[in-house]
């Protein structure tokens, strides 16, 4: 019974915190531009509006893909500890998360591909190329963390960090942490790696044919994605937290730092992004893995 309550609680917290982050990003970027900016609840207003519009469906796979990607994100959420709350703590761990993180882009690709718009196809191919780019360093980082703590359970990793200090205070994991910082904008789709949506060149990419409630669901999926990327970083390297409030505070700090990067950087092209992702973060993560294997 408590597990079901925890599952519902986690999903709603993720929606609220993710949408708050999206609203905050618009507000912070507006302040950096010296604008006043929209109210911080603007994404919620947008979603209310989108659910009250007519939406055009483009086929069965179009509807199914969005549900698929939302379900993938929700399942990943259940494996991530929020403070002490983690409904599926006993099963899986980092390896399962690594597999499940691919479901969300796959669902969006299925759904956007059904719409048969050339811009959507370009966006989807960019999305998968970018995923291929950041999955390699991400796997190396996960391997380093799992080797250092000698476990695959993310709850165990958080507990060990609470006893012995953040992962950043462990010298062998320092390089892996820096590599994760370098790929985090690619995971949550912030500006140097924003080429998936790119409204100015491919008219918002996979989202081209979405309108009405379909766009609302993809916005919620994006909020989940932001939440997952940052909370994974906080759990692995910033020590997790004992209670959810402190956990969200850490997430907020990380997100605001990446917003500043987002506000001042231009967009990379996809091949520049792949070249970057497979050079510096991968080298750092590989060096980190070797250091961890020597020291442990």
């Amino acid at each position: 019974m408590t597990t079901i309550l925890e599952i519902i609680l986690i999903i709603f917290t993720a929606i609220i915190v993710g949408l708050f982050f999206l609203g905050l990003s618009r507000k912070v970027i507006a302040r950096i531009h010296w604008r006043y900016g929209p109210p911080i609840v603007q994404p919620v207003i947008d979603i209310i509006k989108l659910f009250n519009q007519t939406g055009v469906s483009h086929g069965t796979l179009f509807n199914f893909g969005i549900i698929f990607s939302l379900a993938g994100s929700v399942v990943v959420l259940l494996f991530l500890p929020l403070g002490k709350i983690c409904p599926l703590s006993s099963s899986g761990g980092l390896l399962v998360i690594l597999y499940l993180m691919l479901i969300a882009p796959l669902g969006l690709a299925l759904s956007g591909g059904e719409a048969a718009n050339p811009n959507a196809s370009i966006g989807i191919s960019r999305k998968f190329l970018l995923a291929m780019g950041y999955e390699v360093p991400l796997l190396l980082i996960f391997l380093a963390v799992m080797t250092h703590y000698n476990t695959i359970s993310i709850v165990e990793i958080v507990n060990k960090q609470i006893r012995t200090g953040w992962s950043f205070q462990h010298i062998p994991l320092l390089l892996s942490g820096i590599a994760y910082i370098l790929i985090l904008p690619a995971i949550i789709g912030l500006r140097p790696f924003e080429m998936i949506q790119a409204p100015q060149e491919i008219s918002s990419g996979p989202m081209t044919e979405y309108g009405g409630k379909f766009l609302a669901l993809t916005t919620i999926q994006h909020a989940f994605n932001v939440f997952i990327g940052i909370s994974l970083f906080v759990n692995l390297f910033l020590g997790g937290a004992e209670n959810p409030g402190y956990f969200f505070l850490k997430m907020l700090g990380v997100f605001i730092i990446f917003l500043f990067v987002n506000a001042v950087f231009p967009r990379l092209r996809i091949e520049q992004a792949i070249r970057y992702l497979w050079k510096w973060p991968t080298l750092l993560a590989f060096a980190g893995l070797i250091i961890v294997m020597i020291t442990s």
Binding site: A30, V56, P199, L215
Partner: protein
């Protein structure tokens, strides 16, 4: 958000959402588009009213026809308007969509936009300043509140009239009718 609007939000969330989140289709038909970049960027900042430009008609619910409409741009205007999800709001921007403006005797611009598309409101002027866009947005809020921004309903009801006018000026249209009452 105002505290005294909470009652309104609870009574009709859909209407309030449509008021405060107008996603404008970023589609330039003429010279009037030159007033839109200062409107949406740091100088006048339309985002504080919830107005942001979006790239595709599927995501938009506000259509600003900026400037004169030539016969060639009328075709994509109609197609974009028909792709937008309802409820959608159409605003003619500048004098030219109203009555032709300085192109009143031109052979290849249309003179009255509302013969071809249902228009919810007009912004007069040549050029209207960005402040006029904000006046138009606040006026559109009042219209939405009173249920008078019903251009999409008029378009659906009088679709035969609009389609006939479109075919008269553009010749045979290569897309099927949007509604069945033709």
């Amino acid at each position: 958000m105002d505290r005294n609007k909470i009652g309104k939000w609870l009574r009709s969330p859909g209407k309030m959402g449509q008021k405060y989140s107008l996603h404008a289709l970023y589609f330039c038909t003429g010279c009037g588009i030159i007033e839109i970049p200062p409107t949406i960027t740091a100088r006048w900042d339309a985002e504080r009213f919830g107005v942001i430009p979006v790239a595709t008609p599927r995501q938009a619910n506000l259509f600003l026809v900026t400037g004169y409409v030539s016969l060639k741009t009328l075709r994509p205007i109609i197609r974009s308007y028909e792709q937008m999800p309802e409820p959608k709001y159409m605003v003619g921007f500048g004098s030219c969509p109203i009555n032709g403006g300085m192109y009143w005797d031109s052979y290849n611009t249309i003179k009255h936009l509302d013969k071809y598309i249902a228009v919810d409101g007009w912004i007069a002027g040549c050029m209207p300043r960005p402040e006029a866009v904000f006046v138009a947005v606040t006026h559109l809020w009042t219209l939405i509140d009173k249920g008078m921004a019903d251009g999409y309903k008029r378009y659906r009801e009088n679709y035969r009239y609009y389609r006939e006018n479109q075919e008269k000026i553009l010749g045979k249209l290569e897309w099927p009718p949007l509604f069945s009452n033709v």
